[in-house]
Amino acid sequence: MIGLLSREQKEKYTEFGKFVQSNVQPFAWEWEINECIPREVIDKCAEAGYMGGILPEEFGGQGWDHLTYGVFTEVVAKASTSLSGLFNVHTMVMKSILKWGTEEQKQKWLPSMTQGKVLGALALTEPEAGSDIQGITTTFTETEDKIIINGTKRWITFGGLADVFIVFGKMNGQDEKATAVIVEKNAPGLNVVQIKNMIGFKASALAVLEFDNCEISKENVLAKPGFALSHIAPYALDYGRISVAFTALGIMRGCLEYCTSHVLKRKTFGEKLISHSTIKEMITKMGVDYEAAAHLCIHSCHDKENHHPSSAEKVIIAKYFTTKAARKHSDNAVQILGAMGCNESHPVARYYRDTKTLEIIEGSNQIIEMILGNSFARKYRSSEIKAGLGSK
């Protein structure tokens, strides 16, 4: 991975590593047990300029390219998937406001978000609608100068800590008027209930948001009604998938580091574990998949940087491959570490739990198979036909 980065990106990699080693790594286990990340940690991230890394400097960001953001996520996730979840949702919200917001909305929210004074979360999923997002039933009802929200959102990452939410629903209940709005946590009629006992992202303060005649100003509508599910959500989720792909990459990196240290020290039957062929095979597959996943992740960031129309597909491929590989190798990592890997205090135990959720979030891997299966079938068949090789 590191060999594929530019000089500036390598320097950032080292800087992020140092930050994480002193501010994240030693405490990540405690956050998991308490199921929350203390506010002081987020303040430290803000002081270091990390809350708005990928945002332009004019809004207080650092102007990172996509790959630098990815590398940052990899380094954070190796130590704490839960903390990487914060950057994921906060970035999705900032990027959505930057892309679709009015000048007033950008000025109102972005500077305070890049400074980490205001935290964002994205509320799409509902108790009756997850993968099938067209099925959301949250309604926005227009009055003269207000929007009244009714409905429930569930599994909202950092919902328990966020100050502002992008909430998806349907204007006046009309299917063709899917809309996104910006809601502040203290809006009258919004009740936030924290969710406990997740198997992964344990410290990511997941929450249920209950909207009971919740009132917001009409100025908080993000872009025009009708485009929330076709444009705003896919745009946000594209960033979410970059985060998830690099989170999985960080986990694989962690698996490799912990496993290689262990197999070079631990002896069984008079030999170091690395001498056993089945262990070598597991380490080989882990290393090869890490390298392959890194290439896919980096390639997708380059395409995104260059506004390539197929970048969304490249990001999906990276998310799919990397999360599946991380799932498999976290399982092997627990195997290689034996009983030590079965204890919650060891990071590979956390990797084992977290990787299951990575296969479900930001478009589950089954939904990705629906998209990519169709797309590949068409793409490769048609190139065969174009080349005059197709059989009818």
């Binding site: 025009k224 076709s230 444009h231 390539h308 129309p309 970048s311």
Partner: protein
């Protein structure tokens, strides 16, 4: 290749139908025919912005601007006219 051919080709490459007989006219609404997946709308916007070096503003988001080959071409011509007039 003219703009219309470019746009048609982009859409054809992104259809989710495998049968070679899938045909659509320049007037057909590609979204309502169910020929495209959930990523397509964003991909199309990305394509239009990068291929024709324009930015589609939030207030230009109108389904009618993007729903058919002819509508996309009219939108591009309108944008070019606005750019030339400014």
């Amino acid at each position: 290749m003219d703009n219309k051919e470019k746009v048609r080709m982009f859409i054809e490459d992104n259809l989710i139908r495998y049968d070679e007989e899938t045909i659509f006219s320049d007037e057909d609404n590609i979204f309502s025919m169910g020929f495209v997946n959930s990523l397509f709308a964003m991909k199309l916007l990305n394509y239009i912005e990068s291929e024709f070096s324009i930015t589609v503003d939030s207030d230009e988001l109108e389904l009618s601007n993007f729903s058919s080959v002819n509508n996309i071409i009219s939108f591009l011509n309108k944008k070019a006219g606005t750019a030339n007039n400014s």
